[in-house]
């Protein structure tokens, strides 16, 4: 057992730092550090810089243009990105659909889809959940009925994050038969969003953001060649994808950075004749979150090490989702506590660069309550934390 960085790894760390120092655009860095949502153009701009460097796809094999990094290199990358304020890549292409395509897709499909994901030419979104199929995803009702060389797709997908920007959507659809609950009748389809039968309607979330959407399919014709793998095997593929989604969801690097920022903010916040960091009740809560985060960091490292010895990420990755979101949400609460009365103002967009009004409050801490409110979604999406516990109790504990 040894977790010290080797000299090669230290050299890699320096190379990463140098790259971020030189190439990360100052505006993207500032917004990311202030946790202000980025627009499509900002993500694409950054992801194209990563592509130029050859570092866009950190979770892909080298043969498809991935970095082929070791778990330690990925760990270094994630930490340095969080420290510098480099945004995560949008996961729908890189981390969600691409692993399904390079694992189960045909050669033709790999050639056709992967390069555009790698170069961030195409924006993907996810079509899994439906209004009546949330935690019980397998009860989805969107149908794809075969008609010659095409499927005719009808139904509604929901909670489609950033779907308003998307060129393509990957969907779970019901092929053979309409009998609900039959997981063997689910297929994995890639659908181009510019089809006239597709409409996207926004869902406003409680923090006042437009992040998620409903996507409606009305007789949308999709070539059979856009199906990944076998008909009826979509559920199996999706499970693999969901496991990939969960490993990224521990947010250890970003929580570490946020904790550091929080300490600084609390030390600058007056509390009587001392500062808030010296308040025993506050500092104890902060320390407890920090300790939990340290444990999670090692839990994640153990999971990464297991993957590097050839094991697929297993159901244990559900722990990362549960603890990762809990810790992020606890940090949200400590930010709110630090803000005190200044958690209350809701001046939308006041921290964006083009805001020309008078700002309220002592800085970005003023947006801590909207952020807390918005981030309640984290324990709901990607398979709610209750579903993660079901997965652990069934597949790990054998209950």
């Amino acid at each position: 057992m040894n977790i010290d960085f080797s000299s090669e790894e230290l050299a890699f760390q320096q190379a990463v730092q140098k790259f971020l120092q030189e190439k990360l655009p100052a505006d993207i860095r500032e917004w990311t550090l202030k946790e202000i949502p980025l627009g499509k153009e900002d993500f694409v701009r950054w992801q194209k810089i990563l592509y130029e460097q050859g570092w866009a796809a950190t979770n892909w094999p080298v043969e498809h243009g991935g970095t082929g990094w070791t778990p330690t290199q990925k760990y270094i990358w994630a930490n340095e990105c969080a420290n510098f304020g480099a945004p995560d890549v949008i996961p729908f292409g890189f981390k969600m659909v691409a692993p399904v395509i390079f694992t189960y897709g045909s050669e033709e499909q790999k050639q056709r889809f992967l390069p555009d994901i790698l170069e961030s030419n195409v924006w993907w979104c996810q079509g899994y959940s439906e209004p009546n199929a949330g935690s019980d995803l397998a009860s989805l009702k969107t149908t794809a009925v075969r008609d010659g060389d095409e499927y005719i797709v009808n139904g509604t997908k929901t909670w489609t994050t950033l779907g308003q920007y998307a060129d393509w959507i990957f969907c779970l659809v019901r092929t053979g038969g309409t009998e609900v609950k039959n997981q063997a009748a689910i297929s994995f389809l890639l659908i181009e969003m510019n089809h006239p039968g597709i409409t996207v309607s926004p869902i406003m979330t409680l923090g006042g953001h437009h992040e998620v959407n409903e996507v409606h399919f009305n007789n949308v014709r999709v070539p059979v060649g856009n199906r990944i793998g076998e008909e009826g095997q979509g559920w199996t593929y999706a499970k693999v994808l969901l496991t990939h989604e969960r490993t990224g969801i521990a947010r250890v690097a970003s929580s570490k950075k946020r904790l550091k920022t929080l300490k600084k903010l609390a030390s600058e916040t007056c509390d009587g004749d001392a500062n808030l960091l010296e308040n025993p009740a506050f500092s104890q809560k902060l320390a407890e979150v920090e300790i939990d985060l340290l444990a999670l960091e090692y839990t994640e490292l153990r999971a990464l090490a297991a993957v590097s010895t050839g094991q697929a990420p297993g159901p244990e990755s559900s722990i990362l989702k549960i603890k990762g979101t809990e810790i992020a949400q606890q940090l949200d609460e400590l930010y709110m506590e630090t803000a005190g009365y200044y958690g209350m103002p809701f001046v939308s967009n006041q921290f964006t660069s083009d805001f020309d009004g008078e700002r309220v409050g002592p800085g970005v801490i003023t947006s801590s309550v909207p952020r807390y409110i918005n981030n309640r979604k984290a324990s709901i999406y990607g398979g709610s934390n209750e579903i993660q516990k079901n997965i652990i109790s069934k597949w790990v504990l054998g209950l």
Partner: protein, 375 residues
Amino acid sequence: MDFSYSEEQQMLQNSVSKFIQQDYDFDRRCKLVASDIGFSQENWQLFAELGWLMVPFKAEDGGLGGSAIDLMVVMEEFGRGLVVEPFLASVVLSGSLIANGASESQKRELLGLLMDGQLQLAFAFAEPQSRYNLADVATTAVREGDNYILNGHKAVVLNGEGADKLLVAVRTGGSQIDGNGITLLLVEANVEGVHRQGYTTVDGHRAAEVKFRNVKVPVANRVGEEGTALPVIERAMDWATLALCAEAVGAMDKIYKKTIEYTKTREQFGVAIGKFQALQHRMVDMFTEYEQARSILLMAALQLDSNKGMAPKAVSAAKSRTGKAARLIGQEAIQLHGGIGVTEELDVSHYFKRLTTIQYLFGSSDFHTLRFAGH
């Protein structure tokens, strides 16, 4: 031992509750929040006509008796309806400062207008550095002949933009966190040197940053003696905090029940999700938190009415406990609703926002736990 409401209290409750159910549905509230002034003048006049604005005041001041239980009855219903009219800021908080700190002539001048709905007040106490410490006052007032010259910055002043007059806690002596040397001044909101920057708060209410630059305030506008305002402020804050706890209890009652109803109708895996024991126990926890918050609210209201000197401690106990209940019930209501719980269109998410700001308003649970312990 009797915890039931008197006939008058039941009538008061029925009257507020009927208004909420018939005239204050979720869509109307959303429209009020989005409107220019953020509430309805019509509603405000109605509140005055129905006597609700008189509830916090003693009979000798022209009020309905000023019992904490009466106030609790009104605020609980306001919590059920998520009422945004500035009753708490203008009538309860500012009204208490006038009723307990002002001279007889000031009371005659102000309280009648306040109860008639003709006057809107705001209390400017918090400052950017003060957090919940009411004695931390850096805003200064320096005597110059028959005037005070006022300078400083008051933060997140509830109803600060809509108010006709501002009650301002200022320092006339002592150091910045000295309990002595704090004075209350009544300042016309539109006089020269008062700069108000209004905004909507996360919960759909209104507040303002208020900055004073060499504002001239006649000495006659001082409320109470110079340098002795802190006890009056603390008392007003205790009443407002109790009212806030009652609002939270009303809001919690509403959403824990809505959550139970939702889980009875939302089906996943072929059954209503309310059938899952893992979720049932969590709703039992919500119910338990609600009942505990309600109990401690009653305790604090009775202590305020009994005047035995235990009120500050009792109010802090209530705020500490209620804050924790508001957190758990708010978070669980969202979580158990799932995706729909994080949307603007669902009323539960708006109750969650108000419960979240209530957690911190007038002092967090940590602050009040320590105050309860005597720190």
